[in-house]
Structures are given as C-alpha cells and as structure tokens.
C-alpha cells in the first residue's frame, strides 16, 4: 500500500471515520482557493489532495500530524479558502480543514482577552463580542468565510489598521501543533504563562507563516469596548497629488489615535462602479476621492471631524452636485460587505448575464515618501496592460477594476490595494506566460520604489515566490527562515508548496 494510503488508514483509526473524506468529489471541492494561483495551472488535478480531514480538537490535530510525520505526507491547513494564496492543496497531500474547530473557549472581560479555536469564523467572533458590547479589532472585509487561525497565518489586514494595526498587533497568544506533534503555547495571554521578555518572541514567527511551521489550533486576541461615537467624511480632488497628500496627512501618526481609517479611490474604479451600479457618469475632472472614519468619545470625534475637514480644505478638497451623494462609498462598501461582489458587480455577468471574473489582487506596500510617484507609474503600467500591444493575449483576459486604493499599512507606509479581473476560461498557455512576464514587470516597478510586493496578503505566483522573498529579505534573511523551517519541520510536511 502506498504511504499516503497507510497514513490515511492510521489517521482514520485515530480520529474516527466521520472526520475524514477520501471520496473524489470532496477532494475536488477542497483543492483550490479564492486566489489566482489556479489560473496559472492547466491541470487542476495537481491540486487534488488524497484526503480531507476535519479535526474538532487539538488532540485530533496531534494525531493527524504524528501520522503524517511518520509517513512524511504533506499537510495543508485550510480555513475558509478565501486567501489570495497558500491554502491550495496538492496531489498526495492531506487537507486539514480547520472549520470544525469552531468553539469560543475563553472570554475575559477584565483583561479584554478572548480565546477561541482556530476554525471559528471571524463573523461569529465579531458577533460574539458585539452582543456583549465589545468591538473586535480583527475585522477583514471578508469576515464571513475566513477563520481566526488563518488571520494569524496570513498576518491579516483589518478595517481600522490605522489606529490598531493588523492581526499581528492584536493576536496575543497562539496554540500551535508542530510538525512532530508537540503542542506549544506561544505569546502572551495564552493559557501557559509565557512572556515575551522571557526567551524569544516565538509568536511572531508563526504570524504570516501560512501553515509552513505548524497548525494553529487556538488563538487569543485582545478586544476593546465599542466606542460611543463615529463619523464618516469624504472629499473629492482634482489631482492625485492633492488627494494623496490629504490621505497621508489624515492617516499620519499624529491623527491616528482618532482617525481610525483613511482611504483613497481613483476614478478608474469609481467610473466603473457608479456606471455599473448607479448608471451615473463619473465627472472626468474628479480624479480621486479620500474618505475617513473617526471613532471615540463624542466630543473628541466632533473636534477631530473639524480637523479632518480642515486638512481636506487645505488640499482643495470639495464635493459637488454632479456627484453622487456623499454616502455612496459607504453604501458601496455595505454592498461589498454583503456580497463581496465588486468583481460580480463589474463582470460581464451584470451586463449580459454571462460569467463572473476571478479577482487577481495586487497590494504592494509602498513607503509614503514614494507613494505619489509610484502611483503615477503604476497607472501607466496598468494602462499598458489594457492597450493590447504590450501583452496582446493577456490584455484580452485581464482588465483593471481598481488601480489602487491606498490604505494605511505600517506607519509611514501605504498598501496600494488594487484589483484586476481575469477571465479564467481564456487563460491558456500563452496567456499564462504573458501573465508571468507582466507580474515580473510589476515586481520590478514596486522594488524600484523601495516597496514590498505583498502589503498584507497580496498574491505572488508560486513559481516565483522563493526568488521574490530572497529579493525582498536577502539571501541571508531567507537562509535564516529556512534554518528555522528545517529545525521545526525537517521532513517538510507543513504546507510544503509555500515559501520554502
């Protein structure tokens, strides 16, 4: 019997047959993700795993990992599979579907800490806190399908990043099953009293590891009381310079305590969005919009609103009657939060009833110093995608929806959140080759502006990943990562197609 079959047999004995599926339809249903990697493979069979296991407890995970380790079978952890890459499965691998580990375990109102199994959906976690008068800091747009474990695993981006930071800033503890089956508690606030000042900060290593170092089974996060007041504002600008300077000032650390979020939108997106959904022509001279969200005590919010408006005014911000009402971006967001559907709204499906598109997201992280120049160069780069000359095949199968909505990343850095839409059915060999060349050109542009390719969860084609990590962290940096990987997972069974 093949090793993988023996491994499956032993796992079945260990966790019970109701928690494992080997039938082909289930294996097919678990092979790909929301991310674009699948576009680049003509045979999806490459992704079909040998089995899907559904652990409910940490003990189940330990059993699974120990058997996989013994037989050297790859394990691919999956949550909601809404990531831009990393949860794709592989032939002869075993998928660990974490979504049945869905219990909230601890809730400590004194310490403002909550502990949950890794498969709890973010939406349930947010609701749990909201019902008790608290607010989750974990708040991705995609909250209904994504899981808490994957927030740590991808180092997620959250709605109020400007004030509170990303997932790495509010995850306080993790429980992880390592490749040898050992269970470790890392970070503060976990049930074992570990402190960052004692020994090394081990938790950070797992954040962003995308399942390559172990399977996260429990997450402890901090939360806050829901702030009593909230205001939203939005202004229009005639130039990229004015808009981006406004955005940078609104989100600067000096305001970040009260301005929880600021974001800019380009007319390339807006004209498609309002035409598609409201049948309104976007005025051509309105190049960008910038909006902001202020939360806190009512008097502080009121005062900050005046301050925010003064910043907008200083950079020639305005609103006019020929534009939709000022709440339209908010409404667009609500629609998107309900339907996740910018791609749906903008696909040929809306126009002809044809099929929707696959999103290819790019989210370079750019230093604010370079932001304006990068943004202009990026627009030129994206226009070349659509001109039909530079990438003749690709331009028929990939188009731009948003050339980048700048949102705060690290202090002093901005994530330029951009979306292109692919027609998957047309992705043949030539298109795939052109896509890869186009992606290289994109990477060079980002690096020219001292940026990083993946602001938070942006996509990098699998075959380029190692090369690109080395470009960004250097050979020595990559070797250090590899040394850690080898020490923790010498047989390379933990999500082996990713990073290493």
């Amino acid at each position: 019997m093949e090793a993988v079959q023996e491994c499956i047999r032993d796992i079945t004995k260990g966790i019970g047959e109701e928690k494992i599926s080997v039938d082909k339809p289930t294996r097919i249903a678990h092979r790909i993700t929301h991310g674009p990697e699948a576009l680049l493979h003509e045979d999806l069979g490459d992704f079909t795993p040998a089995a899907v296991v559904r652990p409910r407890t940490t003990e189940d995970v330990v059993t699974i990992v120990k058997h996989a380790n013994r037989y050297e079978i790859p394990l691919i952890p999956q949550g909601g599979r809404t990531c831009t890459y990393g949860a794709e499965s592989m032939r002869d691998g075993i998928v660990v579907d974490t979504t049945s580990m869905n219990e909230i375990l601890e809730f400590d109102e004194e310490a403002l800490r909550i502990g949950a199994q890794a498969g709890v959906r973010v939406v349930d976690y947010i609701d749990y806190l909201a019902k008790r008068g608290y607010m989750s800091l974990e708040f991705p747009t995609m909250n209904r399908a994504s899981t808490l474990g994957s927030r740590a695993s991808i180092s997620g981006y959250n709605k109020f990043e400007n004030r509170w930071g990303g997932s790495r800033d509010h995850i306080r503890g993790l429980e992880v099953v390592l490749a040898n089956g050992d269970v470790v508690q890392v970070g503060r606030g976990s049930s074992t009293p570990t402190k960052s000042v004692v020994g090394l900060d081990m938790m950070s290593m797992f954040i962003g590891s995308r399942g390559t170092l172990g399977i996260i089974t429990k997450v402890t996060e901090r939360f806050i009381p829901t702030p009593p007041a909230y205001v939203y504002g939005i202004r229009a600008f005639n130039t990229i310079e004015d808009a981006l300077r406004t955005y940078m000032e609104l989100r600067s650390p000096i305001n970040a305590g009260v301005i929880w979020r600021a974001k800019a939108y380009h007319k390339w997106l807006l004209s498609q969005a309002v035409k598609g959904s409201m049948e309104v022509e976007w005025p051509d001279d309105v190049v960008m919009l910038v909006d902001y969200h202020i939360l806190g005590e009512p008097d502080v919010v009121e005062a900050t609103k005046k301050h925010a408006e003064a910043i907008c005014k200083e950079h020639n911000g305005f609103w006019r009657d020929d534009m939709p009402p000022t709440d339209f971006v908010g409404r667009m967001h609500e629609t998107m939060e309900k339907y996740m559907g910018m791609a749906a709204l903008q696909s040929e499906r809306l126009v002809t009833g044809g099929m929707g598109n696959r999103i290819v997201p790019l989210d370079p992280q750019i230093s604010n110093k370079h932001l304006i120049n990068f943004y202009k160069d990026f627009l030129v780069f994206l226009k070349r995608l659509e001109d039909g000359k530079s990438y003749p095949r690709l331009s028929r199968s990939l188009r731009v929806l948003s050339p980048g909505a700048p949102v705060p990343g690290e202090e002093g850095w901005t994530k330029v959140w951009s979306l292109t839409l692919a027609n998957w059915k047309q992705f043949d060999k030539t298109t795939i080759q052109e896509f890869k060349s186009w992606f290289r050109e994109y990477a060079e542009l980002v690096w020219r502006h001292c940026g990083s390719l993946t602001g938070t969860h942006g996509f990098v084609p699998r075959e380029m990943e190692i090369e690109f990590i080395k470009r960004e962290v250097g050979e020595t940096g990559y070797e250090l990562m590899k040394t850690i990987k080898r020490a923790l997972d010498p047989k390379n069974i933990m999500n082996p197609n990713v990073k290493f």
């Binding site: 339809p25 097919i28 809404t82 579907d97 939406v123 629609t335 499906r349 809306l350 126009v351």
Partner: protein, 396 residues
Amino acid sequence: MAIDRDYAIVSLQEYEPQLWTCINCFCGLCVESCPVFIEGRNEVGAARGMAQVGLALLSGELELADLTDDLVYACTGCRWCEWNCSLNTPLYIKRTGTRRTKVSGATMAEIFRSMRAEEGQVPTQVRDALNNLANVGNPFGGSKQTKDKWVADLGMSMEKTDTILYVGATIPYEDRATKMAEAIVDVLKAAKIDVGMVGSKEMDSGAFAMMMGEDGLFAEMTEHNEEIIKNQGVRQIICVSPHDYDAFTAYYPTLDGLEIKHYTQLFLELVHSRRIKFTKRINKRITYHDPCYLGRKNDIYDEPRKVLQSIPGLELVEMDKTRETAYCCGGGGTGLFYELPKIKMNMTRADHAKAKNVDCIAVACPICLQMLDDGIKSRNYNIEIKDIGQLVREAL
C-alpha cells in the same frame, strides 16, 4: 407535454456559466450557514462544493457514479446560499438574473438529481415517492377515495367555487398535516369565507417532483392542475403549503391573473377586517419557524408573525437564526422521504427553539410541522409544535 424551457430543470451544460461564476469568485459565503454543511461539516454538499463537482462532471474528471447520495440528496432547497451568494446581487437579479441564471446550490442539486433520474439511479425511497406521485398524485400512495371522503366529511364543496383551499399532496395522508388543514378549514368557516376544494382531482402542485429532479413528471402535474383550476372556474387559490404556493407563483404561467395566497396572508387580512376575532388567550411563549419556501424564496416574513402577535396573551420570541437567516427544518428537497444519516436539521432546529426556552414552535407549513415534531420527539424536549392555523383556532 414537453415542459416549457423556462420551467424545466436546467441542464448541467446550460448551467456552466453559473458554475464558472461561482468558482471564479470562490468567496465561500454560501458555505458557513448552509444547513448541509452545518450538519455534515463537509463543504462538498454546499454550493461552492457542488459548483466544483459540476465542473468536474462537465470536464469528465468525475462521473455521475462518483457522486454519493450524501452529495446528491442532501440539499433541501432552502435557498440560503442563493440568497447570500456574492454573485446574486440585487442589481444583477434586476438586470439579468432569472431562476436559470442565479448561482444556487438548490439548482445544482436539482441538476444532479435529474441526471440520476435519467440514469435510473434513484434511491428506493425517492423512487417510491415518485412512482406514487405519478400513479395517484401524492407521494404517500394514498387513495383518491380517502381524499374525497375527507373533503366530504369536512362538509366542503367540491363543485365550482371562486376560491379553493389547495391542501396539497401530504393531506389527508399524514396525520399531523391533516390536523393542520382541518384547523385552517375551521378558521375559514368561522370567518365565513366561502371556499371550496378540488378533492381527489387535486394532484401535487409539482413541487415534490421538481425537488426530486423529475421535471417530466412535474410538467404532467402542472398541466393536469391547470386544467382542473380552469375547469372549476377558480379565481383565487389559498395554499396550505408554502411549497405549493411557490410552485403556483413560479411555475404556472397560464395561471397569470389568478390570485394566489398562502393561508397566513389571508388570515392576516381576516384579522384586519375583524372576520377573525379572538375570544381566548394563549398565554404561551412561542417562536415562529420561517419555512424556507415562504421566507427566503418568497419574502413572506411578516404576515405569519403579525397573525401570531394578534393572538391575545401570546408572547412571540425570535430564534437566533430567523427570517432571512432562518435554519431549514430539513424537509425540503427529498428530506421528507429520504433520511440521510448525517443530516438532522430538524433536531438542530429543535435545539434553536430550546435555547429560547419556548413553550411552543409555531409553523406555517405541513412539512415543517412533521419534521419539527419528529425533531422535538427525538430530542425529547417538552415543546409543542403547532401550525398557525391550530393556534388561531384555539384562540377563537
């Protein structure tokens, strides 16, 4: 009769753009609250899973024989996925969305079932129900004489009437459903509503046949029913079952112009016009279970609640999963006839009610009534199940 294309079950080939649409998007919003997923924890039975299976069937990577009953017969057609799907935005529905072009797990399951039916690979329980539908017009195989006698015993007219009460195929062949219909008849009599019935001529509206993937049989039944309705000079149909209400409103183009109502809609009118008057109190804490075919499928959420709220003393409490997000009782699709070991939606729903500490679950569908009654009994909870008709009669 060849079935009208718009009403036939769409073929896998025709549905391909919707399957691609789903796997392009891959947002997974259809997964987390799909009752099939919640019960079995296996995504393959939710819309995103079925879409991938559908495409694998088209590419030849899978064969029909690879699809287990757990996959083909688990979906209850609850439409949660269809309602929640990223790609069925209201704007899309308004512009180009139709029953054939919405992304829907229910449609995918119907397609798989009709492929199974074509190959003659149908589980015994479903085949028996289908044979009974074809032979006697109801899935239980109950005789026509039984129905005529029941109608006659109720003192209802089977002659030409403007308004008929359409009791559907489960009545009078299932005790609990029969009692529900009798209560509704009593209320209508008390309100002095002139309503008749069609007795044994009444066949299933086609809803069962459609859910089981037999659109040929569905076409025969709709043709038969249309003829009877026309011959009897009917102008208004009051449906006991939300499934029949849905079938009449969605799949009977020639009934255009006829008024079709669910009985809870009529009851609310009668409460407003004071033809239903309550003299007794029901001092109970009651929750209302939204039938999927009344709620998500047809947007009828308020009328049943308002009828309940008009009963003196009755305290109406909502379960956590309610209205648009209500959990299915498990009786849709083939659930009433074919139990799958992993699917126990009726028990899960009983747990939802138990969590609210209620005395009674109110329903508005003969299928929900049977399923939830079984669920409560299996869980051994001390909760009553009553149809709104029964509660209203009690308070008259």
